[in-house]
C-alpha cells in the first residue's frame, strides 16, 4: 500500500497532503494537551516497535506473504491521536530510508494508514464496544475493527489511484479489497492475540489509555 511517486496526479496528492497535514497538526495539539513531554520518548519507541513488527512477515495462501500494519493496535494501546503520529513517523522513515512509498504520496499513505487505518479503525472499535458487550467482546471487536481497517485502507488506496487515472476503479477496487480481506484476517488475529498477551502480562497497559 506504499504508493510510489508519480502514481498520483497533482490534484490528488496535494489534496491528500493538505488533509494529512491538518490531521497531524490536530494530533500534535491533542497529544500535547493530554500527555506532555513524557510521551515523546514513548511515542518514538512505540513507533520503532510498530516499525519492527511490520518487518515480521506471515504467510498467506498461494506463496505470498503479508505483514502487520498495526494501526488499530497502536490506537487501542496509546490512543487514536498518538497513533496517527506514530504511523506518520513510521511512514516517513519507510519513505526516506527504504524508498517504500514516495514523498509526494506520503500524504496519501498517512491518510490511508494513519487516518483510516488507525483513527477510523479505532472508532469502529469504540462503536462496536458500545454495541457488542460481554467478557470476550473487546477481542471480537478488535478483530473486526482491524480487519475492516485494512480493507478500508486498501479501498482508499485504489480510489486514490483511480481518481488519478492510473488504474480503473471497479476492477482495482474489487481486486484490492479482495486481497486485503485475506491479509486483514492476519492483521485481526495478530491484533487480538497481542492484546490478549498484553492483558495476561501487563493488564495495566490496557486500562491506562482513554483519550
Amino acid at each position: 500500500m506504499h504508493i510510489p511517486d508519480g502514481f498520483l496526479d497533482t490534484k490528488t496528492w496535494m489534496a491528500l497532503t493538505a488533509i494529512s497535514g491538518t490531521a497531524i497538526a490536530v494530533s500534535l495539539k491533542q497529544t500535547g494537551k493530554t500527555l506532555g513531554e513524557k510521551q515523546i520518548p514513548m511515542m518514538g519507541i512505540t513507533a520503532a516497535f510498530i516499525f519492527a513488527a511490520q518487518m515480521l512477515n506471515f504467510p498467506i495462501a498461494g506463496g505470498t506473504s503479508g505483514h502487520f500494519m498495526g494501526g488499530v493496535l497502536a490506537a487501542i494501546l496509546l490512543g487514536p491521536f498518538t497513533a496517527i503520529l506514530i504511523m506518520t513517523t513510521v511512514l516517513i522513515v519507510q519513505c526516506l530510508i527504504f524508498q517504500d512509498g514516495g514523498v509526494t504520496a506520503l500524504g496519501a499513505s498517512i491518510f490511508n494508514m494513519g487516518i483510516i487505518g488507525a483513527f477510523v479503525g479505532y472508532y469502529i472499535y469504540v462503536i462496536l464496544n458500545k454495541i457488542i458487550k460481554g467478557s470476550k467482546s473487546i477481542f471480537i471487536n478488535a478483530f473486526i475493527a482491524s480487519w475492516l481497517s485494512i480493507i478500508l485502507a486498501a479501498a482508499a488506496c485504489s480510489v486514490e489511484l483511480s481518481i488519478s487515472g492510473t488504474v480503473p476503479l471497479k476492477t482495482s477496487l474489487i481486486a484490492m479489497t479482495g486481497v486485503h480481506a485475506i491479509i486483514g484476517i492476519g492483521e485481526g488475529l495478530i491484533t487480538i492475540a497481542v492484546l490478549s498477551f498484553i492483558k495476561k502480562v501487563r493488564p495495566d497497559l490496557l486500562e491506562l489509555r482513554h483519550e
Binding site: 508519480g6 500534535l28 520503532a48
Partner: protein, 241 residues
C-alpha cells in the same frame, strides 16, 4: 547490531556528501515536484531529468549495484498498474499511463536514494528541523531512529529462536507464535520507554533536545543551488514552449 544497511554509504567522501542537508532536501523536493508535474509524453523532459539525476548518482560515488537494487522497491506497484492495463480498455492510452508512472517513479526513487544514502539520518533530521518542520515530530523521529535498531535486533533474535524450534505445522499455531513475539516486543519496548524517560528526567529533560551539531552553508551549497535549480528551471520553461 548488524544494520549498517540503513545509512551504509553516508560516510563516503564526495561532492554530494559534502552538501548541507538543507540544500539536499530543498533541491530533492523541487526535483520530484518538477518530475511528477511534467506531461506524460514529454520524453525530452524525462530524458533531461534522467541525465541530471544520473549525474548526481555518478558524483555521489554510491555503487550503482546498490542503487539498482533499491530501485526495485517500486516493482509491486508497477505490476499492479500493469495487471489492470487490459481492463482499462484504452489501448494506446493505457501504455502511455504505464510508461508515465514507471518513468516518474523511477526518477523519484533515484532522487530519494540520493538523499538518504548520502546523508546521515540525524543530519537529515537536523536539516528538516531548521526548515521548520514540527519539532515534536522531529523528536519522535530521532527517538524512533535511536531505538529501531535495538527493537529490530530483538525481533530478529526472537524470530531466529522461533525458526530454530519450528518445523512447520498448523497455520493458527504459527500466527500465535508471531503474536507472542509481537506482544513481548511491545512490552519490552514500552518498559524501555518508561526507563528511558525516567533517566532522561533525572538528567533534566524538559522537552527540548539540545545538540552540538550546527549546520552551515558553504560555497559548494551555493553553487549547487544555482546550478541545479537553474538547470531544472530551464528544462521546465523550455518544455512550456
Amino acid at each position: 547490531m548488524n544494520h549498517a544497511f540503513l545509512d551504509k554509504y553516508s560516510n563516503l567522501n564526495s561532492l554530494i556528501h559534502k552538501l548541507d542537508p538543507r540544500t539536499k532536501i530543498i533541491t530533492f523536493l523541487l526535483f520530484i515536484v518538477f518530475v511528477i508535474t511534467s506531461a506524460p509524453t514529454d520524453y525530452i523532459q524525462f530524458l533531461s531529468y534522467s541525465v541530471i539525476i544520473l549525474t548526481v548518482v555518478f558524483l555521489s560515488k554510491v555503487p550503482l549495484g546498490y542503487v539498482f537494487k533499491r530501485v526495485l522497491v517500486i516493482i509491486p506497484f508497477v505490476l499492479l498498474v500493469a495487471i489492470f492495463l487490459p481492463f482499462a480498455n484504452k489501448g494506446q492510452e493505457g501504455w502511455i499511463i504505464f510508461g508515465n508512472v514507471m518513468i516518474k517513479s523511477i526518477l523519484a526513487v533515484l532522487a530519494t536514494i540520493m538523499l538518504s544514502s548520502t546523508t546521515k539520518f540525524h543530519k537529515l533530521l537536523k536539516g528538516f528541523e531548521l526548515l521548520k518542520f514540527p519539532k515534536i515530530l522531529i523528536m519522535i523521529l530521532s527517538f524512533m531512529y535511536r531505538y529501531v535498531f535495538i527493537l529490530v535486533d530483538e525481533a530478529q533474535r526472537m524470530e531466529r529462536a522461533r525458526d530454530s524450534r519450528y518445523f512447520g505445522g498448523e497455520y493458527l499455531r504459527q500466527i500465535k507464535i508471531i503474536c507472542n513475539i509481537i506482544g513481548l516486543l511491545f512490552i519490552r519496548a514500552y518498559e524501555r520507554g518508561e526507563r528511558v524517560y525516567q533517566s532522561m528526567s533525572a538528567r533534566g529533560f524538559d522537552g527540548n533536545i539540545i545538540t552540538m551539531s550546527k549546520l552551515a552553508y558553504t560555497k559548494i551549497d551555493i553553487y549547487f543551488y544555482i546550478i541545479f535549480i537553474g538547470i531544472i528551471m530551464i528544462i521546465k520553461i523550455w518544455s512550456l514552449f
